[in-house]
């Protein structure tokens, strides 16, 4: 089956291959620690990635994400901890690992005056069983740019070339570090579709990002890394639910609310009013309780909205709990 066909079969296949509990782990990291002089980049990181999963590593800049993937891909030697990737020790079996794990790193490039097609042909020659380079170039929409020098490519084209080079060895695992940083929203969404397509080929993906939206949209599971530790690890939606202490209902009403109408309800913990806008915080079946109470009192409410927490709230809630918080947050 061609790569294009594989990518086009997207959703159906991805559901089948996405990491169910039965899928065997392809990456196992336990108690990873890495120091640079006095700085502890990774303190104690453990996680397991089953085959076929899109696994997200999420965190602020400097949280230890890149160091973690550099250790996993054999580019750095951990000070402590065990890493097993496809049954290989990344340090001892580095070359074999690189045959089977495609890596796209930040701050990496091909020479300025190398053409796209030349870079793909060259990198294909590095691998035992390379993919068809021209097909990959076409799949990633770089056909028009294949004779362009690397230095003349746009940011999005450079990223796409980077993905081509990470996939040209037909890897079983693709590690993609900050893939969409610096891309415009449209290019970012294109890239997301592409990653889903790659996963549909059965490739396990480790996605390093600091974009909540990206992790929420793409990842089966997410490890939140904060100060070199795994602060939380779960499905994005589960993390979001776990982080919320309650729900909120927002509506507008031109009529005055009788005292205690809403605040007396057992589901409600707080009521705030700014002009015509009312925000009710609480838990349980909050929406139903609020709507019934308003209806019972004959008060007309418009634009009723419910807010559920997303991964960003979860991220903030989880990382703010850590006592040693820094200001250099990237969001």
């Amino acid at each position: 089956m061609s790569i294009e066909e594989l990518i086009q079969t997207d959703t159906g296949v991805s559901a089948a291959v996405s990491g169910g509990p039965a899928a065997p782990p392809v990456i196992e990291v336990s108690h990873l620690r890495k120091e640079y002089g006095p700085t502890v980049a990774v303190d104690d990181v453990s996680f397991t990635v089953p085959a076929g999963e899109i696994f997200g590593i999420l965190g602020r800049n400097g949280a230890g994400k890149t160091t973690t993937v550099e250790c996993v891909t054999g580019l750095r030697t951990p000070d402590r901890g065990e890493i097993n990737v496809l049954g290989l020790d990344p340090r001892r079996h580095r070359r074999e690992l690189h045959e089977r794990v495609g890596v796209q790193l930040q701050e990496s490039a091909v020479p300025d005056l190398m053409r796209v097609s030349e870079a793909v042909e060259l990198y294909a020659s590095f691998y035992r069983e390379p993919a068809d380079g021209r097909e990959l170039i076409a799949t990633l929409g770089l056909e028009d740019a294949q004779h362009t020098y690397f230095k003349h490519l746009s940011g999005g084209q450079k990223q796409r070339l980077s993905i081509v080079l990470a996939l040209v060895g037909q890897p079983e695992i693709a590690v993609l570090d900050e893939l969409t940083t610096g891309l415009d929203p449209e290019a970012r969404r294109d890239t997301w579709r592409l990653i889903e397509g790659v996963r549909a080929r059965g490739v396990t993906i480790v996605l390093v990002t600091h974009f909540m939206e990206e992790a929420e949209r793409l990842c089966d599971r997410v490890a939140l890394i904060d100060h070199g530790r795994v602060a939380a690890l779960d499905r994005p939606s589960a993390l979001a639910i776990a982080a919320t202490t309650g729900k909120r209902v927002r509506f507008t009403s031109t009529e005055p609310l009788p005292d205690g109408l809403l605040s007396a309800l057992p589901e409600v913990s707080a009521v705030e009013r700014h002009g015509t806008e009312v925000v009710v915080a609480g838990s349980g079946d909050l929406v139903t309780a609020v709507v019934l109470a308003l209806h019972g009192a004959g008060i007309r409410a418009d634009d009723i909205q419910t807010e559920t927490a997303n991964l960003e709230d979860a991220f903030l809630a989880i990382t703010d709990e850590t006592p040693h918080d820094t200001n250099g947050a990237t969001r």
Binding site: T73, L75, R95, E96, H98, E99, G102, V103, L105, E107, S108, A109, V110, P111, D112, L113, M114, E118, E121, L122, Y123, S125, F126, Y127, R128, L165, G169
Partner: protein, 262 residues
Amino acid sequence: MSPAALSISPRQRRAFGLLVASEIKIAIRRPIGLIVAIGIPLALLVIFGSIPATTRPDKALGGISFFNLYVPTLMVFVLIAVGLAGLPQQLATYRQQGVLRRMSTTPVPPSWLLAAQTTVALILAVIGIGILLGAGAGAYGLALPHDAGGYLVILVALVLTAAATIGLGLLVASVAKTPQIAQGLTVLVFYPLAFFSGLYVPLQEIHSQLISDIAKVLPTGVGFTALHDAFGGHSPGVEPLLVLAAWAVGSCFLAARLFRWE
């Protein structure tokens, strides 16, 4: 052949060939290296070869012509150009831009890029020196050795001088964190080395004990003298060749110790 060389598979040979080919393409697309290593020496050869006065034997130069004295200088210049004018900047740029980092994630280690760059430098050196010899002898009556032994000495002197200049280039690439620092260091090393190859004035015309003492230890001074002797049909002896070998081994050893991929 070393065991490492024997263990290279056809696939790896193809990968290395492609690496060398792509480095050659890049060298042609940004031809400054070609101009310095091949164009400038050829231009100087043509200029001095066309002046009648420089091709006549000169008593002040020990009875040989300035032209015959200058061709070995130009050969040494080609070797400094390929080793020091191109290699360090290119490697420092590759390191800064992340080209080495990108390769370090593939089954082919970035040291191959170093080897490919060195191969390209050697190819340029062969072309540059070949043109000097061919044009010098063919068009301007360059005096050539009379026997095979003379050619052998020339070959050995060229190989050792090339090893020394390329070793120095790699050493500069190792200690320079950025292309800008590499450029600065290159200038610092390049001009003195060019001076002691006799590029600006023949060292024979400077009657200074200090200068000739320095020329006896610097790779370009020694390389020039060995080549000059060989062209004149004399044996340079073993000592200059040992000095060159020491430079080659020392600089490559230090470069290997100090080189940083990131």
